[in-house]
Structure formats: structure tokens, C-alpha cells
Symmetry: C2
Subunit: 277 residues, 2 copies
């Protein structure tokens, strides 16, 4: 495994081999969710590259950029069995003084995470385009956990004619259903015990839809009731939307994306499930 | 020479050979200025690709997209001696229904053409990024005539880590000094006789600076006086700016970009000259 800390080194490594490459962009503090992406990249490609870069431009001014958890040593030891190249650029090289070019994916960035975190997807799509241009993979792997991010990246790749296959990978969960996330580390023990209620509410939505409940508002109400039983949980949004346009729907129509953001104290968790026929 | 009318055909053609490729994006209605770009691409690369695409997204709602001159047959005959691939995509394939992703290069797009033509550079940078992703050249050639466009493309390529060399090529002029442009065809015979005053005013600026005139305002005044002698000429702006930031300067400091937009009736011409020590 080679660790490459500059753009020039990464370009050089890529230039040295024309083999198919799978790429997993991450912000580090890796967990089994990330490793499942890396494993899928490993299966389908001769080479696997992973980037570790806590991207400052996707954090809002009041968000957790500075305190976002970092543990490079542990990350590298997790990646070693599966990875050929780890790209770890500096903030200064990715965003030098005078940097001011941005990718704006419109429409599907207006709602949900985009509305709760203004500028977030501008930062995400910009850094992903930059990483794609540097790493030049054949395929790139993203988790379904960040459903809107996945939709935004897919749209950018389609609209900009980027010649890279975007592969969506299922959310990896703890045994009690909590979706794996680097931010889970922020939870107090009590919050951690409450957090599985997100996935429980998603399962409830699925169950209600299966039983023939067609009214999205009724499903949202049941989900809300369940989550509110946890005194620590503070719902930011619960959405039931068209899985492609991400527009809210009133009547269930498959495939539908049920997604949410819930705060536990200062920690904000997201989760989602796609309802399918 | 192969003419490729779909993105898939162009990708296939590029995939078939890994030779170095020079690329000249154009909106067609080619003149010697374009051909000089193609010749320079020919000299330095094994393969030469030219795109012909009148890009709707860089025209304002009141601009000349529909009437922009087109003559594909003549274009192809001009390209034939120099070109391997001509890429001519349709509007529908470049901007399918639901298209909504954009490149925003900030800062240097606020002034000059950017201020006179809101959204123009968003359209330019977006289509150029798309064309780069489809054609995948090693080098791309742009004329100095569109000085701000050149600066915007260079900035985008640098900021987005696009792995393509941008080559700037000198403005090609008619024997009386008028910069070649597809829009010159709009000029009435009388306007055409007046139009060389743009270049004359640029030469005057150069002469004054050489003689030690350090006051940009004084130079602009002399240029204005000269251009106003032509009754058909209607000055939109005359700018003397830092050649990199494009910010207006008060005292001449090299290299400085002297640029202008002047209307002759409904036809809008631009020209520029870089003052160097």
C-alpha cells in the first residue's frame, strides 16, 4: 500500500498503470461501512485507491469541521489489507489561496440535507470532481447511507459527462440497526442507546407501506411518534420523497426514499431506507 | 477526418488510441483564427480534435444564439487538411431534459464580459468541462482574443485539477487590424470600415504606455476619443486591468490587459492587447 500526500504523487502513481481502478473517497475515521465500499472496489477492479480528506468546503461555519474525528494511523491499518493507494492531500494543496471554482448541482440540492446545510453539496460535488480528476478511477463507490449525496454525485457525473461509473453500496449497520457513521463517536452512552430508533422508525415506515398505508403524512406521523418516545431525540426532518427527484410525495409511489435527520444533543445523525415494491 | 455526432462515438474514437491529442473547442463558422489554433494543435500532438457546438447556455436570453452564423459544410472543408476528429454533438445530448449542473468560476467572472453578459462564463466553463470530459485531450487551445474566457478556463482547470494543458494562442487579425471573429459577418460595409478602430485604439494605448504615460484613466480617455471619431461605434466598456486578476488598475503595471467591447449597431465586438514591459 502506497500513501500519497501530494497531487503530483497521486497522478504519478495513476500514470504508472493503466489497470482498472476503483476509488473510495472518504473523510477518514473509517468504520466497517467504509471498508465494505473498499471490498466492493477490490472485487471489481485491479487497483483500489482510497482518499482520506476532511473536506473543509462541505462544512458550514457552525459545523464540526475542526472537531471532526481523525485517526490516520488506525485508518491506514484498516485499509492495508485491501488498498493499493491512499491519497491524503493537504487542505493547502486542495484549496490554495485564491481558490474560487465550484460545482453547483441544482434542483436536487434544494431540499433535505441541502436545505439544512446550505453550501454542503457545493462543497461535496466540488471536492469529488477534484478527486476524480486527480485519481482518474474507472469506478467510484459511495454509500447509500448518504442518499442525497449519492443522488447529487450521480447527477453531476451524468450532467458533466464524467467517464466514471458510480457504484452505490448498501448501508452497513451495527447489530442494533444504527447506521455506521464516524459521527456516532460523538454520542454519549445514553444517546447511543436511543439512536437505533432511527432505523426502527424506517422499518416501521416499510412495514406500514407493506400493510397498504398509502398516505405519506400518516406514515411520517407514526415515525415521529416512535422517535419522540426517545427523550434525547430531536427530529430535524423526516421526509418521504421520490427516490430520483427527491421531491416530497403525498401518496406512496415506489421507489420512495424515506430519510431523516435527528439530533441527539449536538450530534446530528441521518439515515434512510428506499421503499420498493 | 472522422465526424462524430454523438458522445458515445467521440468516446469510442478517443478510446481507440492513446496518442497525444490536441483539442480546439469552437462554435463553428470557422475563420483563420480558428485554423491557427488547429495548426498549433497539429504541431504538438499526434491527434487533433475540433468540436463544433454553438453552446446555448453561454448566450443570454436577448443574445444572438438563434441567429449565430452556422456553415458546417464550409467548416468541415476548412478543417479537413488539419483534423482527425470533428465532434458535433446535438443540443439535446449535451443538455438533456432535467440538465442542471454548472461550473461557477467566481471572482474573475464578475467584471468585463462577465458583467456585461451575466451567466455567460457559467455557460462557457460548463460546456468546456463537459467537452474536456468527453474528448479527453492532453492539450486544449484557446485564442487570446477572448482574453477573459482564457483566464476563466485556466482558473477552472487549475482549481478543478483538470489534467489538460491550456495553450493560449495569439489573436489573428485581418490586414487592417480587425480581430477575426465569426460575428464580423454581421457588420454592414460601413461598420466594417469603422471596425479597425478597436485595434487602432489598442495600439494607441500601447504607444502611450511606451511613451511613459502611467495614468490608466488618461490612456482610456485617449482611446475613447479615437473610437468616438467613428460615428457608428458605441463603446460598452474600455478596461485597463491586471492581466491575472482582471481587476482595474489606476497606474500601468505590467502585464496589463487592455480590453474593450464596442457595439456597431446590433453587433458587439471585443478586442484586447496585453501591455508588457
Amino acid at each position: 500500500m502506497e500513501v500519497l500526500k501530494t497531487i503530483a504523487e497521486m497522478r504519478q502513481a495513476r500514470k504508472a498503470s493503466k489497470k482498472t481502478m476503483g476509488f473510495v473517497p472518504t473523510m477518514g475515521y473509517l468504520h466497517e461501512g467504509h471498508i465494505s465500499l473498499v471490498r466492493q472496489a477490490r472485487e471489481k477492479n485491479k487497483l483500489v485507491a482510497v482518499s482520506i480528506f476532511v473536506n473543509p468546503t462541505q462544512f458550514g461555519p457552525k459545523e464540526d469541521f475542526r472537531t471532526y474525528p481523525r485517526d490516520t494511523k488506525h485508518d491506514l491499518s484498516m485499509l492495508k489489507p485491501h488498498t493499493d493507494f491512499v491519497f491524503m492531500p493537504s487542505d493547502e494543496e486542495m484549496y490554495p489561496e485564491g481558490y474560487d471554482s465550484w460545482v453547483e448541482v441544482k434542483g436536487i440540492t434544494d431540499m433535505l440535507e441541502g436545505s439544512a446545510r446550505p453550501g454542503h453539496f457545493r462543497g461535496v460535488s466540488t471536492v469529488v470532481l477534484k478527486l476524480f480528476n486527480i485519481v482518474q478511477p474507472n469506478r467510484a463507490y459511495f454509500g447509500q447511507k448518504d442518499a442525497q449525496q449519492l443522488a447529487v454525485i450521480k447527477k453531476m457525473v451524468k450532467d458533466f459527462d464524467v467517464n466514471i461509473d458510480i457504484v452505490a453500496c448498501p448501508t452497513v449497520r451495527e447489530s442494533d440497526g444504527l447506521a455506521m457513521s464516524s459521527r456516532n463517536t460523538y454520542l454519549t452512552p445514553e444517546q447511543r442507546r436511543s439512536a437505533p430508533v432511527l432505523y426502527q422508525s424506517l422499518q416501521l415506515a416499510q412495514e406500514l407501506a407493506k400493510q397498504g398505508e398509502w398516505d405519506a403524512l400518516a406514515i411520517r406521523k407514526e415515525m415521529t411518534k416512535l422517535i419522540q418516545k426517545e427523550s434525547q431525540a430531536d427530529i430535524e426532518y423526516i421526509s418521504i420523497a421520490d427516490n430520483e427527484t427527491l421531491k416530497e410525495i403525498h401518496r406512496i409511489k415506489y421507489p420512495a426514499l424515506v430519510s431523516m435527520a435527528v439530533r441527539f444533543g449536538r450530534t446530528r445523525l441521518i439515515d434512510n431506507l428506499v421503499l420498493e415494491e
